[in-house]
Symmetry: C2
Subunit: 205 residues, 2 copies
DNA sequence: CTTGACTTGGACATCTGTGTCTGATTTATT
DNA sequence: AATAAATCAGACACAGATGTCCAAGTCAAG
């Protein structure tokens, strides 16, 4: 019985061990590329506990594998973002919540991001990040409408800035120039400062 | 060959055409790497109007050439920064002035930066950027002392944030998501917002 | 002008990585 | 147990890049 309530539009019926291999490969790739952005297919295969030819059984080319890796990465971040419920509650709090959630994921994937910055055009990169970035749009626009986030620049720009700040926080942490303890706070205050609407006479409570 | 580590302070007496070749090569490399971060030595030679072997006459290895390219790039940015006089005048104005100056340079070198992000460790990268970054320190610390820039985070962090913002502005411009006209203003306001000291009880008049 | 530094053009060896193929073997499914 | 799918192990062709080398020619400097 094809109990195929599987994923997207292409439910290839594969054997169970094939499925296992595929995820082992993608995981291995993730692992290998994290430590070396130019990791070869051989190295990836090694980490996946698989022979190189097996990779080509499922991914016609290296590019295809990288695509799969990227899709998986973005999906995980998108998932985490979604679970942080960007639409719920106070704008600022929601933003902090979501930033923290994506933040944790990003540490794993910052090298994959680097890879994709290099191999994809800026346009393509942007397109593939949509599953993540689009989730921020309603949040930011709501905040803008409420006067909480600044409206003199586009929501798109705010998103770009946020991403940059999260990324730089990750970098500074890894470089040891920020301690584990202070990163999150630092990141959040800076992010908030960067996108908050200038307060002519806002009263804190 | 007892080649003692020749730094900038060891001006080998070369013939005039050698000097010419060297700068042609570095320029060609800059040009080639800008359009393709993985440009081969052959491609670089072609752009420099030189034969491949000539490159090896002056740079023992590809890495050495990349180092030279990087040094030149950072020196140019450092120069532009210096000329913007980071220490002069009102903190905020000085910062804007300096940011605009480096901003113009960065558009040329953002691909070189990418290359170095990949080939160098974060520590090494940071070290080589010192000629630029150190120039920001006095400016930012002065601003912090004046209460203009926020002091609840380190000046180092502020620098990292500024760099990220400049970089993202460059990216957004190239992607066409910001117009030539609005980039600079957007960048400046965001940068200022990100690092300005929070006004706890600023009163409107 | 003469010498030596520099460049050219090309050949060459070497290396690394990708992608293909094949035959033997294991494994999942029915 | 039978069958087909998947993996393994290893060889192979191919491409591209790096770095070396050399013989001949060109150019700058004394």
């Amino acid at each position: 019985m094809p109990k195929t309530k599987t994923t997207a539009s292409a439910p290839k019926r594969r054997r169970a061990d094939a499925e296992r291999s595929i995820s082992a490969i993608v995981n291995g790739a993730l692992e290998a590329l994290a430590s070396d952005p130019d990791a070869s297919m051989a190295e990836i295969a090694r980490r996946a506990g698989v022979v190189r030819a097996t990779i080509y059984m499922h991914f016609p080319t290296r590019e295809a594998l990288l695509d799969a890796v990227m899709e998986r990465s973005t999906e995980m971040v998108a998932q985490a973002t979604r679970e942080a419920e960007p639409e719920r509650g106070d704008s600022k709090e929601a933003l902090e919540r979501v930033l923290l959630a994506t933040w944790e994921q990003l540490s794993q994937f910052h090298s994959v991001l680097q890879i994709n910055i290099n191999r994809l055009s800026a346009k393509e990169l942007h397109r593939r990040h949509l599953p993540i970035t689009t989730q921020f749009v309603p949040l930011l626009e709501r905040g803008q409408a409420e006067g909480v986030f600044r409206s003199d620049v586009s929501a798109q720009w705010l998103i770009a800035v946020l991403r940059a700040i999260v990324h730089v926080a990750s970098t500074e942490l890894q470089a040891g120039r920020l301690s584990q303890a202070e990163v999150e706070q630092t990141m959040l205050t800076t992010a908030l400062a960067a996108i908050s609407s200038p307060q002519p006479a806002r009263r804190r409570r």
